[in-house]
């Protein structure tokens, strides 16, 4: 099957769950149904989860497809260090966040989806995966060598004048040297 990085799928699931929780929360608050406070919690939790899960981590090989505009959030999430790097903590966090969603109908779906995402994160954590940020690599500027700043003081060494004079016997050799053997045209 090859090396599957479960964290990638868990990340997609968590982001989708955040959106489902958010949508359910909006429906609950807009309809002003009974216990709509849980729906308001759903909106807040949904937004928080979306912000946390939006920056995609890079794969074990070091490459990864970035989501558009994720750089600022990557920096914020990275700032929390081991809290966000470790997937056990994420799994626990999602499991805890999903529980209040089970109290009203609107957020029940978000709760179940988040629970699934939490389980997949747990699987990823058991397999030793970690969240590593995708940051642009600072390319080292190629510095030109030092000698480029100073032009040479002397001309290059040349053989004495008799050898440099063109000889009549070998006109072609004196005129130029062929880098490759010349052949007639072939198709």
């Amino acid at each position: 099957m090859g090396k599957i990085e479960w964290a990638m799928w868990a990340n997609e699931q968590a982001l989708a769950s955040g959106l489902i929780l958010l949508t359910g929360g909006i429906v609950g608050v807009a309809g002003q149904f009974r216990n709509w406070q849980f729906a308001a919690y759903g909106i807040a939790a949904g937004i928080f989860i979306c912000l946390l899960e939006y920056p995609r981590g890079c794969k074990a090989k070091g490459n990864g497809v970035q989501r558009p505009g994720q750089y600022c959030l990557t920096v914020c999430v990275k700032a929390f260090g081991p809290l966000t790097r470790n997937y056990y903590i994420r799994a626990l966090l999602h499991a805890a966040l999903c529980v209040p969603g089970a109290f009203i109908l609107c957020t029940v779906l978000g709760c179940v989806c988040l629970a699934i995402a939490s389980i997949i994160y747990l699987l990823a954590a058991v397999r030793g995966e970690q969240w590593l940020p995708i940051l642009p690599r600072a390319e080292p500027r190629e510095k030109p060598g030092e000698s480029i700043k100073e032009p040479p003081q002397n001309p290059p060494p040349r053989p004495p004048a008799e050898m440099r004079r063109k000889r009549a016997e070998d006109m072609e050799g004196a005129a130029y040297t062929n880098p490759m053997p010349v052949m007639p045209n072939e198709y």
């Binding site: 997609e12 359910g24 429906v27 009974r34 497809v65 779906l109």
Partner: protein, 561 residues
């Protein structure tokens, strides 16, 4: 460069036409259902109870019906390959529309996702309304068992509610595994979750049995909001004393009590046809793929490419088609697509593929194929023969490259290993080039390393030789490009002189190439076939839409899942 309207219409016209048709059908269906539930007399009482949630949920359900029906059609690959083969029945325009099947499938899938969100949100509101506005007047309309019943209980203890939750979970798993990055990095998760679609359809068929939303059957005898003389009005008035003015103002008098009936599950009509077609297709592919395949020979090529020749009874394929290989010894469930580089003919019944060793499946597969036979002291000579692993082949399936022969002038542009569809085309031309519509073929192959050209150097040289000997020197126009400029490079063998003379260092200059092709083929319809990385195909697509001496360039792209 200036846009050529003829080229643009040839390349983009049918695509955009289908898109507009699909969008307008969706919008019309949504609108019609919305209006029917909002203002139709048969839904009057239900609408009074549920409000906007009813109209939104039913309208989105209608759109979901349409898209669940359409989404299955582009993935019936064998059926579409068969349609492509009927060249007398389907025109080239229709075949080019078939090339866009994956995009259409994705569009329908996205529509299903979007309208599911609307449908579920509206039904969540409906469940609350069923609970809060429990109707004592018309008990038949109710879903809740009593006023104020907990909506969660209503959801999880009714058939539509429970199946609805399961449907959302299945869609959730399918959608999260279908994003571009998931398909690129973990194709197997995408493929396995997508096979959950059969569970989705079974649940869908059960979901609509529920009969929760009812319509009124006797609208003529009980018009909505009619005057009922023997019942107490909701305001508490005793309507035993009826004012004459009241009776005059209300023209309708109820003759009987309203009767409600659940709708016939329309979804069955929409979905059963394509579902049966898809199940038949999968069954056919399974039975066709069950017959074993014998591996005839394995050849190693430079740059990590291996050529495998196989034989299967009753296997027929056209140049440009691809097959899907499964090797249980490597992985029981994984299968990978490979384009055929040699098709079976009357003279030679074997078919071949060229596979590049890139991931772990191809590595293990080639290790098995190229393993040295074990030599033991007591093994008889006959057992020294290579033991190749068992291989199953599903296919062949169609691809855009089959159309190379249907243009008078074709341009084939290949990047690296993407040359495989054109290799089978060249092989077919080597067998018989005279009986096709094709009169001229421009073959442009861009590789990173020089040694890659050795994969098909023999084939190119022999085809070139044959065409020169049969006095058609302008039939085949070869251009080879090595994109990594690393000093002087040439194919040193004498027999590849033809290719050395046509080898250029650096990337091709597309503008100039297209000018040259346009100038030589003015006012003609030229087919451009691209098989390579995304950057190459985007550049070519742009080139095809612009104007070059009045020649129309029709763009066809080979897509690799």
């Amino acid at each position: 460069m200036p846009l050529s309207w003829r080229s643009w219409i040839a390349n983009e016209g049918s695509k955009h036409f289908i898109l507009v048709l699909w969008l307008s059908t969706n919008i019309a269906l949504f609108w019609k259902t919305f209006v029917s539930y909002c203002s139709g007399p048969q839904h009057y009482y239900l609408h009074k109870m549920l409000g906007l949630g009813l109209c939104m949920s039913r309208a989105s359900a209608a759109v979901l019906n349409l898209n669940c029906c359409l989404v299955l059609l582009p993935v019936c690959r064998s059926l579409l390959a068969g349609l492509r083969g009927f060249q007398k029945v389907t025109s080239r325009k229709a075949r080019r529309i078939l090339d866009k099947r994956k995009t259409f499938h994705m569009a329908c899938g996205i529509a299903i996702g979007l309208f599911s969100v609307i449908h579920v949100s509206a039904h969540l509101a409906n469940v609350y309304s069923f609970s809060a506005w429990y109707s004592d007047e018309f008990p038949a309309l109710n879903l809740a068992r009593h006023r104020g019943e907990d909506p969660r209980i209503i959801m999880f203890t009714t058939v539509p509610g429970a199946t609805g939750v399961l449907l959302v979970l299945v869609l959730f798993l399918m959608f999260t595994a279908s994003s571009y990055s998931m398909r690129v990095s973990h194709y197997d998760i995408f493929w396995y979750t997508h096979n959950l679609s059969i569970v989705f359809y079974v649940l869908l068929l059960v979901h609509v049995i529920g009969g929760v939303l009812k319509y009124q059957t006797n609208v003529e005898h009980h018009p909505p909001d009619c005057f009922r003389p023997n019942r107490t009005a909701p305001g508490g008035q005793n309507s035993g004393f009826v004012n004459s003015s009241q009776v005059d103002g209300l023209s309708k008098v109820c003759r009987e009590e309203p009767q409600f009936q659940a709708h016939f599950p329309e979804t069955w009509l929409w979905v059963s046809g394509p579902l049966c077609l898809y199940c038949a297709e999968r069954l056919y592919r399974y039975m066709r793929g069950c017959r074993p395949v014998t591996v005839a020979s394995v050849v190693r090529h430079p740059c990590r490419v291996v050529e495998v020749h196989m034989q299967k009874s009753g296997f027929r394929a056209r140049p440009g088609q691809y097959i899907v290989l499964n090797c249980p010894h490597v992985s029981s469930f994984e299968s990978h697509p490979f384009t055929l580089t040699t098709c079976p003919t009357e003279r030679n019944a074997t078919f071949g593929i060229h596979l590049r060793v890139l991931g772990d499946w191809t590595e293990r597969f080639t290790d098995l194929l190229l393993a040295e036979p074990e030599v033991g002291a007591e093994i008889l000579p006959v057992a020294l023969q290579r033991r190749y692993p068992r291989v199953y082949v599903d296919g062949p399936f169609g691809s855009p490259s089959e159309d190379v022969f249907n243009y008078e002038v074709s341009v084939c542009v290949a990047g690296g290993i993407g040359v495989t569809p054109f290799a089978s085309v060249l092989q077919a031309l080597l067998d018989d080039w005279q009986h096709h519509k094709l009169r001229r073929l421009y073959f442009i192959w861009v590789c990173r390393e020089l040694q890659s050209f050795r994969w098909f150097a023999e084939l190119l040289c022999s085809l070139h030789q044959k065409l020169w000997q049969e006095n058609r020197p302008d039939y085949l126009n070869i251009r080879l490009y090595v994109s990594k400029e690393r000093g002087l490079q040439s194919l040193s063998e004498g027999r590849y002189q033809v290719l050395s003379a046509r080898l250029l260092i650096g990337r091709p200059r597309w503008e100039m190439l297209f000018e040259e092709i346009g100038r030589a083929n003015k006012q003609k319809r030229v087919g451009v076939f691209c098989s390579g990385p995304k950057g190459l195909s985007t550049t070519l697509h742009k080139m095809c839409n612009s104007n070059h001496f009045g020649a129309t360039f029709e763009y066809n792209k080979e897509s690799f899942s």
